[in-house]
């Protein structure tokens, strides 16, 4: 291989590495595209800043551990250990967790009913592959 070909190959790899660093926010979640409710859930999560406390698949920044990480959230049995992990319960919980855990650290978050339903759908869609 001629040296200029090698040089071309190296520059190509460098260019690809640069591109690899770029992410389109909010749609690198493999299960996010499966149903239409999940993507709007991710949009709502970003709009409300849930990432300020939780690590959430599909949210690349921030990465905070104030609250529990929410990967594979759909596999969980209970919401914060206090009630069954259903869409309806979860939508109610994220709007005002202090109703269920009075001494908890998560404040009531103002959001619309549809945002709550979308976020709930998104979180429940986060399941281990094959389950």
């Amino acid at each position: 291989m001629a040296s200029w070909q090698k040089a071309n190959g190296v520059s190509l790899i460098l260019a690809l590495l640069l591109i690899a660093g770029c992410t389109e926010v909010s749609n690198n979640q493999n299960s996010a595209d499966d149903n239409s409710g999940s993507y709007s859930g991710l949009v709502a999560i970003e709009a409300l800043g849930c990432g300020a406390c939780h690590r959430i698949p599909g949210i690349s920044w921030p990465q905070s551990d104030v609250g529990p990480a929410l990967n594979h959230y759909g596999d969980r049995g209970f919401i914060a250990g206090v009630m069954p992990n259903t869409a309806q319960n979860l939508a109610a919980f994220i709007q005002n967790s202090t109703r269920y855990i009075p001494n908890g650290a998560m404040p009531p978050i103002p959001m619309t009913e549809s945002q709550a339903a979308d976020i709930s759908a998104y979180l429940l869609s986060l399941q281990t592959a094959g389950s």
Binding site: G49, A52, W61, V66, T98, P107
Partner: protein
């Protein structure tokens, strides 16, 4: 976080810069196309075409004369444009001093004598259609003030005061960003500019000149107390209270801001709590320590207090 929109100008200054950009792109594309055609002709053309291309006169005119002409025209155009951008085309409606800090923006609205009438942080309010003169200072290192929809970048240099004039054509929210690497969380040093209709701007200004009302509910009252006791007041001021710290952003109306952490997070009770508990996870290296020692109930109270500062 949202990145500023770079090529959708919303004010006369930004519009001129966008126009310069598109003209340059057009000329560059044209030159590129001509060069490609010339290259193809040199590689695959007939002997006659090649003879023309290698002629001394062709090389002198197309290789030196034409580029010199194009570059001279473009340079003249951009120099005139730059001059127009920095020279006032009428009296300034208002003066504001924006000081770059690691890694946020201190904002002071000034009267005609340069005295501060109102202090704030991270959110700049302007009236639509009026020229605002912005004094750009720095408290530490070089920052750069950049709100691409309204104006070009201008550096904030320690020991020097640059003046940037801008105005907005229509009411709206315009994102800004520090555009000069200033250390650690530079990329998370955002700014929000809100352009109001002139009437709405007057209302906003009147509302800001009075201190916010004292907390009304039990949780927020407890939060106000904790805010002073937990050390927040050492760095933050909340006008009308004992909190009088100057090192960090003014929090008198923090609950009214659209964004938190210098233009980066949505602002609600949840993000306020997350920021107080662990701002270092959200904006690594920023000067506010995380407060993991707060009890959950204390965090709730402080977040409730901050949220109602509006």
């Amino acid at each position: 976080m949202e990145w500023p929109a770079v090529l959708s100008p919303a004010g006369p200054n930004a519009a001129q810069i966008a126009q310069l950009f598109w003209i340059l792109i057009f000329v560059i594309s044209l030159v590129m196309a001509v060069v490609c055609v010339g290259l193809a002709a040199a590689l695959f053309g007939s002997a006659r075409v090649r003879a023309i291309l290698t002629d001394k006169r062709t090389i002198l005119s197309a290789g030196l004369g034409v580029p010199a002409l194009i570059l001279t025209v473009l340079l003249t155009y951009s120099l005139i444009l730059t001059r127009n951008l920095s020279s006032p085309n009428g009296p300034d409606f208002m003066r504001v001093r924006v000081t770059g800090e690691m890694w946020w923006w201190r904002i002071a609205y000034l009267d005609n004598n340069g005295n501060i009438t109102l202090s704030d942080a991270n959110e700049l309010h302007i009236p639509v259609g009026k020229t605002v003169a912005i004094e750009l200072d720095s408290a530490d290192v070089i920052h750069s003030f950049w709100v691409p929809q309204l104006a070009g970048k201008e550096d904030m240099i320690p020991g020097r005061r640059n003046i940037l004039r801008l105005s907005a054509d229509k009411a709206g929210v315009y994102a800004g960003q520090c555009a000069e690497f200033c250390g650690g969380p530079h990329a998370l040093m955002g700014l929000t500019v809100i352009a109001h209709s002139p009437e709405a701007f007057d209302d906003w200004q009147r509302g800001r000149l009075i201190a916010p009302i004292a907390p009304q509910n039990e949780l927020a009252i407890k939060g106000a107390d904790l805010f002073l006791k937990s050390g927040c007041a050492a760095c933050h001021i909340v006008r009308g209270t004992a909190a009088n710290g100057q090192a960090g952003p003014d929090l008198t109306f923090v609950g009214a801001r659209l964004k938190l952490g210098a233009g980066i997070l949505p602002n609600n009770r949840g993000t306020l709590a997350g920021w107080v508990a662990d701002s270092q996870a959200i904006k690594p290296g920023n000067r506010m320590p995380s407060y993991p020692m707060l009890l959950p109930a204390e965090l709730q109270a402080i977040a409730a207090y901050l949220e109602q500062l509006r």
